[in-house]
């Protein structure tokens, strides 16, 4: 049988989605279900004097109304943060509570003040409209750096200077010295703007308390149902975990925004307990804009020093990270351990230092968003490199070749120890860029660009070579860095008596195609048909445990857990087969679903062995019946995919509008189980990255109003904004996981943004433009041309 690993097997899950039979949270209707509408603050910062619910309770169909006072009286804790980062001086970070409904003051536009529950969604909305809140306005602070000003209003009264923590990584002295002594220093001050995630499925949650069994069920749009169960039961509501079931059915995209434990989840569960009926909340898109955790929002000053030969000597970074009004689940590790640790990039930079301050502001909480920290790191590096190349008059590709870490496979050569705590697993960086340059036909482009310039047309090319850390992560390592959970994964492989296989995985699929990729792995390893494998995920009742899906970890960590269980299945199978064939285990070899006695045609099939395990009449002595194995896999290291992306743009010299002409990418994500799915992940990631470069950005006014709170004001990339993406890959297997895979979910986003921005800057190089703030809207690009033209004229 030919292996199905590496084949573009069509997806198992497609049929239900294609025929309208998906099962998303909002599709679920439970008997007796009620509907919740949440009253949210329209102010960024205001004291709540009183909340009047009398008119709301009088609305026909309204069942109950709860306010922040009810939550406070019930002594319910807020939603916790999952990662502790300490101040430089060792003090613990500031961790103000994030209550399910606020009672004292609102801290961002969208903060939840009350919940109205009714027989219909319409009545709930009617009620919510009639809850009247008496606010006393307070001055708001919106931008990260402003939060540090001496006279800045305090988001939390007991958090001085609005500072959650300050943090550093790397060798400061060596870095200062390197920059000081550098032949050339490239500097960049920029904003990595705040993004709004906008998974197309809005968040939703249904709480369901069953009085008779005292069980709580939460249906939620989550990337990690078990984690939600843990936080919900142990930290927020104090419920016995075994009485709490969390189900994440089909989830319509996450991109990080469905990792955190949100107040609405706990609130629906609690409300259901109060009224003893199921309660459903589905976000309206404007609520998604206001309350789905946002991403990025760094204000950064970066300097890169080079020697006369163009070798990077040092990198110094100073960043203010805006965490929003409250700490979301993983908010604290994103700008630190998922960002500072990636500043080595693909380069041999001998000295690196980052100094970072994380602040509270009167804005939506910030957490992981596709890439989470790594896009910010890559943006910084790649923008610096392209600018440096221009300043030093070196070709940007050449400059990268000069600085790449030499190849290492992590087997014969050791992993690469960076200056910023990580050890890369395996890498071979030159070929990805070489390939990408070939794909784009670099030399030809430069000729075309020069000709176009003669005609007044502005073509540009931009590079980005990136590395990212995926497959998060060794529990002991992350634990030592402040994680409050382990980051292993679990998988149970249950061989049914007929040889069919059910696999229960803690990873969660919300578009990644686990039902296909995982089944491919299992079918291949067991030598059975894919149809005979069923992947079960997303329900804490059927799946023993799991840490969920984020950080491109599912196959690298979850897949490895499956492999461990498969090994156990095969080990036991071999014992049974040996017994049946009356030979020693060592005389057997397993291939294509058969145990065969070496050098003979005597064999026994997987199905027969499975049946024997459950009907153990003729069975090895002392061996337990059954064939059902669980495993936990704790990775030995992160995995480190890398690649080179190149964007080609044309800028309209009159309007500043950017047209993306081509997008070329050569990625190395380790071994590939299903190329079709991996390419799909890259496409989506690239589009997201292009979105940040050209279109997307949350806009707050000074009073803290979210101006871009709808699709009419926040630009999402559309089909006609994008070209076909041209992809290729190299394969450098991961040396430390059994599948040799690295992860592909975020690569595109990480790499694409700087490639596109670099391309626009390259197009504008005749104007001497060296930076434009993202997103590169037509107006900003046009303005950049104006300013520089004027300056040139003076």
């Amino acid at each position: 049988m030919a292996s199905i690993i590496g084949k573009s097997v069509k997806r198992v899950e497609d049929k239900r989605f294609l025929t309208g039979k998906g099962n998303f949270t909002d599709d679920i209707v439970l008997p007796g279900m009620t509907y919740a509408s949440i009253v949210r603050s329209h102010h960024a910062h205001a004291k709540i004097n009183s909340v009047d619910i009398s008119q709301a309770t009088a609305v026909d169909g309204v069942v109950a109304v709860f306010t922040g006072t009810d939550i406070a009286n019930a002594e319910i804790g807020g939603v916790p943060c999952g990662w502790q980062v300490d101040f430089k001086n060792g003090d613990t970070m500031k961790e103000p509570p994030h209550p399910l409904l606020v009672a004292d003051k609102v801290r961002f536009v969208g903060d939840a003040v009350a919940v109205v529950i009714a027989e219909t969604a319409a009545a709930a909305q009617d009620g919510a409209e009639l809850v009247s809140v008496d606010y006393e306005m307070l001055e708001a602070v919106v931008q990260g750096p402003d939060a540090l000003a001496a006279d800045a209003p305090l988001v939390h009264d007991d958090v001085p200077h609005n500072t959650c923590y300050d943090w550093e990584l790397g060798d400061k002295t060596a870095t200062d010295e390197a920059i000081e002594n550098a032949e050339h220093v490239t500097k960049l001050e920029f904003v990595n703007q705040r993004l709004i995630p906008n998974a197309i499925e809005p968040r939703a949650a249904i709480g369901h308390y069953e009085e008779a069994s005292e069980k709580y069920t939460l249906y939620t749009t989550s990337q990690n149902p078990h984690l939600i169960r843990l936080l919900l039961s142990a930290f927020v509501l104090g419920l016995p975990e075994h009485k709490v079931r969390v189900i994440s059915p089909d989830v319509g995209g996450g991109f990080g925004s469905k990792i955190p434990h949100y107040i609405e989840e706990a609130l629906m569960v609690w409300c259901s307990g109060q009224i003893k009926r199921p309660v459903k909340w589905t976000a309206e898109r404007n609520e998604s804009f206001m309350t789905d955790t946002h991403g990025r929002d760094h204000v950064t000053k970066a300097e890169m020093g080079f020697d006369a030969d163009g070798k990077i000597e040092g990198l110094r970074v100073k960043t203010v990270a805006n965490l929003g009004a409250y700490l979301s689940t993983f908010s604290t590790c994103v700008p630190t351990y998922l960002h500072g640790t990636l500043l080595q990039g693909l380069y041999t930079t001998p000295a690196i230092h980052i100094d970072l301050t994380a602040v509270f502001t009167n804005t939506t909480p910030v957490d992981a968003l596709r890439g989470a920290g790594r896009p910010e790191a890559t943006y910084l590096l790649e923008r610096l490199l392209d600018n440096a190349a221009r300043e030093m008059n070196v070709d940007p590709a050449e400059l990268r070749f000069k600085n790449f870490i030499p190849p290492f496979d992590g087997v014969d050569q050791p992993g690469y120890q960076t200056q910023v705590a990580l050890q890369y697993d395996s890498g071979n960086y030159q070929p990805v860029l070489e390939k990408a340059l070939d794909m784009v036909d670099y030399q030809e482009f430069r000729t075309r660009q020069a000709e176009a310039r003669e005609e007044g047309r502005l073509l540009g090319i931009g590079f980005s070579t990136y590395i990212e850390a995926c497959g998060i992560a060794p529990s002991a390592v992350v634990g030592s860095l402040g994680a409050r959970a382990g980051l292993y994964e679990s998988a149970q492989v249950r061989v049914q008596p007929t040889g069919k296989v059910s696999v229960y995985v803690g990873s969660h699929s919300h578009g990644q195609g686990h039902e296909t990729t995982f089944a491919q792995v299992v079918a291949d390893k067991l030598g059975i048909a894919m149809e005979d494998v069923e992947i079960v995920h997303g329900d804490s009742e059927s799946v023993a445990f799991g840490m969920g899906t984020y950080g491109s970890r599912s196959l690298a960590v979850g897949g490895s857990a499956i492999m461990k269980s498969i090994d156990k299945v095969l080990e036991k199978g071999a014992k049974i087969a040996a017994h049946k064939l009356e030979v020693a285990e060592t005389d057997l070899e397993f291939a294509n679903g058969q145990w065969t006695v070496k050098g003979s045609d005597q064999s026994i099939g997987f199905g027969d062995v499975a049946l024997t395990a459950y009907v153990p009449h003729d069975y090895p002595e002392g061996l337990e019946p059954g064939m059902d194995f669980s495993s936990f896999y704790d990775p030995a290291n992160f995995t480190y995919p890398f690649g080179a992306h190149i964007a080609v743009v044309e800028v309209d010299p009159e309007t500043g509008k950017v047209k993306l002409e081509r997008f070329v990418a050569c990625d190395d994500v380790g071994n590939v189980i299903n190329p079709m799915i991996v390419d799909g992940q890259l496409h989506g990631g690239i589009a997201h990255g292009i979105g940040q470069a050209l279109y997307e950005g949350a806009i707050y006014d000074e009073s803290g109003q979210l101006v871009s709170a709808s699709f009419m004001d926040y630009t999402m990339p559309r089909a006609d904004d994008l070209p076909m993406f041209e992809l290729d890959r190299t394969v450098t297997p991961c040396p430390h996981n059994p599948l040799g895979v690295k992860g592909a979910g975020e690569a595109g986003t990480i790499a694409a943004t700087p490639a596109v921005v670099n391309a626009v800057i390259d197009a504008l190089s005749p104007f001497g433009v060296s930076d434009i703030t993202m997103p590169l809207t037509p107006e900003r690009v046009w303005k950049a041309m104006q300013t520089q033209t004027k300056e040139a004229a003076i």
Partner: protein, 284 residues
């Protein structure tokens, strides 16, 4: 996402609609394609007491030639207009404007009458209707009147439409065979409404521009005909230089809007660029 409660009234004819309008008073709203009204009602920015649904009135949906005019029923959808061969032959800018509106689903539902009544400053229709010297027919239970497009648009979401009036028809004089027209648009990237929409219609004889009509939408709170541009070109034989010079005069006489997608300064600049592009397209 769910509107406040209201009374739903279905009108089967223009007459019925007018009766209902008179009956229900100022708290009633006409519903045509619903693509401006319903989004506002869903967000509860607009909560009428009654809704008079005219979307089923077949007699308001047509495109036909009537003597010297092309007439379009108020309930004709943007999509039907975009596909009209009659319009595309006679007044191409009308078809081009229709095709620029929103997306295919929006065009399938939204109507020309609804867009005019709504008078969104960034709507596409006004530019080409102004340049085409359209007239708008308004009916009420007390009769019918016709208003020139220039007089109809009065300001931000404000028109000459009376409370109990219904737009029934848009009338466009059929230009002679020497007239060419176009509509060009720089769109707001998120909503894809117009940041600058420019329509130009030019009649030429013996190489010179006899009649020039240039109108803008999106630029100012009220759509407008730009006579400075028109006059700069009228009577001239077109050349790159005088097209450029005419375009430079764009949006000089109006208060230009600014927002986070396009500041005043940039919008003004775009008006010039798009005026030039429109003129060039028509005169090439």
């Amino acid at each position: 996402m769910i509107p406040s409660e209201f009374e739903y009234c279905r009108a089967g004819s223009v007459e019925e609609a007018l009766d209902l309008l008179a009956q229900k008073g100022p708290d009633a709203k006409i519903l045509a394609g619903g693509h401006s009204l319903l989004p506002a009602m869903k967000l509860r920015l607009n909560s009428p007491g009654a809704v008079i649904d005219i979307s089923g009135i077949g007699e308001l949906s047509y495109i036909k030639e009537e003597g010297s005019h092309l007439v379009i029923g108020a309930c004709t959808t943007h999509g039907d207009i975009a596909k009209s061969t009659l319009l595309s032959e006679k007044i191409p800018m009308i078809v081009e404007a229709a095709a620029e509106i929103g997306d295919v689903q929006v065009r399938n539902k939204g109507t020309i009458g609804g867009s005019l009544a709504h008078a969104d400053p960034a709507a596409d229709w006004p530019a080409s209707l102004l340049a085409g010297e359209a007239e708008i027919v308004l009916a009420s239970s007390s009769g019918e009147r016709t208003v020139a497009a220039v007089d109809f648009f009065q300001g931000l979401f404000t028109t000459d439409l009376g409370e109990n009036e219904l737009i029934t028809e848009i009338r466009l004089p059929i230009p002679d065979a020497y007239t060419k027209s176009t509509y060009v648009k720089f769109e707001q990237p998120a909503s894809r409404f117009a940041i600058v929409g420019c329509a130009a219609s030019i009649t030429r004889s013996n190489g010179s521009c006899d009649k020039v009509r240039v109108a803008f939408t999106g630029v100012s709170s009220t759509p407008f005909r730009d006579q400075a541009v028109e006059q700069a070109l009228e009577g001239q034989a077109p050349s790159d230089d005088n097209i450029e010079a005419a375009a430079e005069k764009a949006a000089m006489s109006v208060e230009v809007m600014g927002d986070h997608f396009a500041s005043q300064e940039y919008r003004k600049h775009l008006a010039k660029v798009y005026a030039r592009r429109a003129l060039q397209a028509v005169l090439s």
